[in-house]
């Protein structure tokens, strides 16, 4: 176990320069954005003098290098600055909105995996049959439709026509109070508080946007599972296992599936990152108070502190994600971490 924990520590150490690079690049990028925040916030009627005054208040008149020093020293104290649009500190904005996005993405991925992985395994065990073809058609349809379209379609069918879904307005219907803040994930917080009514309400709100995202992510996961299972099933060791008389169940899940997991985990990581990006549209359609819509709004008005905070948060998230994937690799495959 020792070399493996050393590998994990090593991977964490590798993340440090990545984060430092992200700090520099996010800073430079936001400064390079077209538009002048000072002019924007001074309003259309402002004159040169008031713009200059605002610029001075924001510290934007200082040389770039000095601004960077201020930024880094603020950052080291955990201060991400104040959003010019919401007037709140960026940190508290992110803390409120990031869990919303994560809850949505994770729920969508869980749903997607629960459908796509068995579907992929099923297709791999019966290649060329109608099960295989049906699986292909299903996932292709899912990925072919843009998420905003699927979202609107689902709202139209389940909210407007059938009336079974709640109104697509955010994370919780106004009749409920949001659960006490522990993790920021409403489902978890409500469960912790034992408030099952709120839990049900949050779940109802979550179902449609999560389904929208899940439909979109079915394809890569199902196709990769199928391909990985096919190649695992044609390996020599599967023949050994069959020749030893092991049951189909054991051969399929104990031997083939664990070997097929590696590429599936890799795909999951990639899907997770692009889902966080694809979130923006779904959040818009369902009025989901997530980080994606926050970033888009901030970008439009050159709210540089918020954009910086967003980029930094995403970068940290991806670094953490990659770390988790690497650890998952090491847990699945004993060959990793020793070579």
């Amino acid at each position: 176990m020792a070399p493996r924990s050393r590998m994990i520590l090593g991977r964490m150490a590798q993340a440090i320069p990545v984060v430092m690079g992200v700090v520099v690049i996010s800073f430079l990028l936001t400064r390079a954005l077209p538009g002048d925040p000072a002019a924007y916030f001074a309003g259309p009627a402002a004159d040169e003098a008031s713009i200059a005054q605002i610029r001075e208040e924001l510290g934007l008149d200082k040389p770039l290098f000095q601004q960077f020093i201020y930024y880094v020293s603020d950052l080291s104290r955990g201060d991400l600055g104040t959003s010019l649009t919401t007037g709140q500190s960026v940190l508290s904005d992110l803390a409120a909105r990031l869990p919303a996005s994560l809850e949505l993405t994770l729920a969508a991925l869980l749903l997607s995996c629960a459908i796509a992985i068995p579907l992929g395994v099923l297709a791999a065990t019966r290649p060329g049959t109608w099960v295989d073809h049906l699986c292909r058609v299903l996932v292709t349809a899912g990925v072919s439709m843009p998420t905003f379209f699927t979202g609107i379609l689902l709202i139209y069918v389940f909210y407007y026509l059938a009336g079974v879904a709640p109104s697509p307005l955010g994370r919780l219907d106004f009749i409920y109070l949001s659960p006490p803040h522990v993790t920021g994930f409403y489902l978890i917080d409500a469960a912790l508080a034992g408030d099952w009514e709120t839990w049900g309400g949050a779940l109802k709100q979550l179902v449609l946007p999560a389904t929208t995202l899940a439909l979109f992510t079915l394809a890569p996961i199902a196709r990769m599972t199928r391909a990985a299972m096919l190649s695992a099933l044609s390996s020599d060791f599967i023949r050994t296992a069959r020749a030893a008389g092991l049951t189909n169940r054991k051969v399929l899940y104990g031997y083939a599936f664990r070997n097929a997991l590696l590429p599936v985990v890799t795909t999951l990581g990639m899907v997770f990152s692009f889902t966080l990006g694809a979130n923006v549209l779904v959040e818009r359609v369902f009025a989901w108070p997530g980080i994606g819509s926050y970033a888009v709004e901030a970008l439009v008005v050159s709210d540089y502190a918020a954009v910086q905070g967003f980029v930094l948060a995403m970068a940290l998230l991806f670094v953490a994600l990659n770390l988790v994937i690497d650890i998952a690799y090491a847990l699945i495959d004993p060959r990793i971490g020793l070579k």
Binding site: F237, A241, R242, A243
Partner: protein
């Protein structure tokens, strides 16, 4: 105990149905070892998969009866078959490392089988799995129980595969090329182990192999298969001394052995006089104190520990050793794909070790040293035709182009016996022997003075090997090339080489004229290697 009657197996492929086995009948008695010998595509493995009913998708038993101990295996339900597999009939496979689940501890893989067949309970499974490992003579079995396949050597992996197969005391063991890819001394150890265990347990065995020598040494009776049919069967002695079928005669002739000459490997009707190659006194290659050390996790790895030898102009030197002996590293340093840690490589008096491998491409001597690789398939670019593969070195190094290059490619194809129409084909459209010819034509395109042959026939069937070896002998005489022939097959080296070097753990342990080293080995390791090589009974008249 096992009886197969008129078994026919077909495979559905995209090009239609292919008959892999066309009506074969054979019997295996209790305690008997039956050898099934044949070249690739003869249907020998398919026969065994069919009787285990583990044919790949698309394969189907078309006709015939398979009875094992009174049970009709063709009619048995899949459920019954699963009980039979591993408990009554077991299999071991070639390429043992791939035959084991790479991410499961070997002990657990043995345990899976024991529990499946109710030979152990969860409580005593570990203990019984360790006992199974001890039965196949794995040292320190309790520690090996927790090992993963990648932590074990190839021979050790094959022992684990055997332990899985024998864990439930089956009555019949099917060994499908069990030693392909293993070193020759490991091959002997594994085969002796399997033979001893079979004898001790009164177990029957089917030994499937392409190596007639191996089959004759370990089997009581041999059947020879060709194109899905049995062409001959008999005891090893009768097959070798008095083969009846022309195909058996051809196989027996083509098997390299003591007392054979290179031409005697070929069928009698195409034999010509063996050409004489001239060996000059002038050394072409002079290797002095060559050392290669790799940085390793637990200290430096000494792959080659200061070897010195010479190859004279026109001479063929055999370099023999097992995996890890440093023979491949040595040949790669000479062809300048790797940089030596220290030492000199004098080629025609010029020290080529001084030029770094990365810059050797532009060295004037580059064209004089060429290499033929072990795997003819993997060493050809799958997207290049045979003609462009052969033309590659000419355009890269000699700067030949246009009609001149085309003529030269045609000329080379003629020289290596590759029919002209095949030149426009891609590697996957060529047979193993044809690919080997392309590899040789590419290597001799620039008329090198030294050709390094790295196990050039290891992946070929014996009859193709015989043809390729004879081609190499002809080319040597015609072009005056020197060969460095790297091989683990002593019988082949004996036929082809003037002198031989035996390497072990990075050092040369034995060297000298081939007849001396092979006839009266001085070093115990050389003797062990020679003893381990299977020797078929000598035919009365070749």
């Amino acid at each position: 105990m096992l009886s197969i009657k008129d078994l026919a197996v077909t495979f559905k492929t995209r090009k239609g149905e292919v008959d892999a086995v066309r009506g074969i009948s054979l019997d295996v008695g209790k305690g008997e070892t039956l050898g099934i010998v044949g070249e690739s595509g003869s249907g020998k493995s398919v026969t065994s998969y069919a009787l285990m009913r583990i044919l790949d998708a698309g394969g189907e038993i078309r006709a015939g009866d398979v009875t094992f101990g009174g049970i009709d295996l063709r009619a048995a339900s899949e459920r019954d078959m699963r009980d039979i597999r591993g408990r009554e009939v077991s299999m071991i496979f070639q390429n043992p490392r791939a035959a084991l689940n790479p991410i499961r501890r070997v002990g657990h893989q043995i345990k899976d089988v024991l529990i499946r067949h109710a030979q152990a309970t969860r409580q005593n499974a570990k203990q019984k799995a360790i006992a199974a490992l001890e039965a196949v003579r794995v040292n320190d079995a309790a520690a090996r129980y927790d090992a993963y396949p990648f932590e074990l050597s190839g021979g050790m992996c094959q022992r684990v595969v055997i332990a899985i197969a024998l864990a439930c005391n089956p009555q019949l063991l099917i060994a499908d090329e069990p030693t392909t890819g293993l070193d020759i001394t490991t091959q002997k150890a594994v085969m002796d182990l399997v033979g001893d265990l079979a004898a001790a347990r009164g177990m029957s065995m089917i030994l499937i192999t392409h190596d007639l020598g191996l089959a004759s040494q370990y089997a009581d009776r041999i059947v020879v298969m060709k194109d899905g049919r049995i062409v001959e069967d008999g005891t090893p002695e009768t097959l070798f001394t008095d083969p009846q079928h022309p195909y058996t005669q051809k196989l027996v002739n083509a098997t390299p052995r003591i007392g054979a000459s290179i031409r005697s490997l070929l069928p009698a009707e195409i034999r010509t006089a063996e050409p004489v190659h001239k060996v000059h006194d002038r050394p072409l290659l002079d290797v002095r104190d060559l050392v290669k050390t790799y940085p390793g996790k637990s200290g430096p790895v000494h792959a080659v520990k200061g070897v010195s030898f010479q190859i004279k102009a026109g001479q063929s030197l055999g370099l023999v050793g097992e995996s890890g002996s440093g023979k491949s590293t040595t040949s790669e340093m000479i062809v300048r794909l790797q940089d030596p840690t220290s030492g000199h490589i004098l080629f025609d008096g010029q020290d080529i070790a001084a030029t770094p491998a990365a810059r050797f491409m532009r060295h004037p001597v580059r064209r004089d040293i060429q290499m033929v690789f072990q795997d003819a398939t993997d060493s050809l670019n799958p997207r290049d035709t045979a003609a462009s593969a052969i033309a590659e070195p000419m355009s890269r190094i000699a700067g030949l182009s246009g009609a001149k290059r085309r003529d030269r490619v045609a000329e080379l194809a003629e020289l290596v016996g590759l029919p002209q129409p095949l030149l426009s084909r891609f590697p996957h459209q060529l047979s193993g022997g044809q690919k080997a010819r392309v590899g040789i034509a590419r290597a001799i395109a620039l008329e090198p003075k030294l050709l390094i042959l790295d196990e050039p026939t290891a992946a070929l069937d014996v009859s193709i090997q015989a043809i390729v070896l004879n081609l190499l002998v002809d080319l040597r005489a015609r072009m005056g090339m020197s060969y460095l022939f790297v091989s683990h097959d002593l019988n082949v080296v004996r036929l082809l080489c003037d002198e031989v070097l035996v390497m072990k753990e990075g050092e040369i342990v034995d060297q000298g004229p081939t007849a001396d080293v092979m006839g009266a080995p001085k070093h115990p390791y050389t003797r062990a290697l020679i003893d381990a090589a299977p020797q078929p009974p000598r035919p009365v008249a070749a």
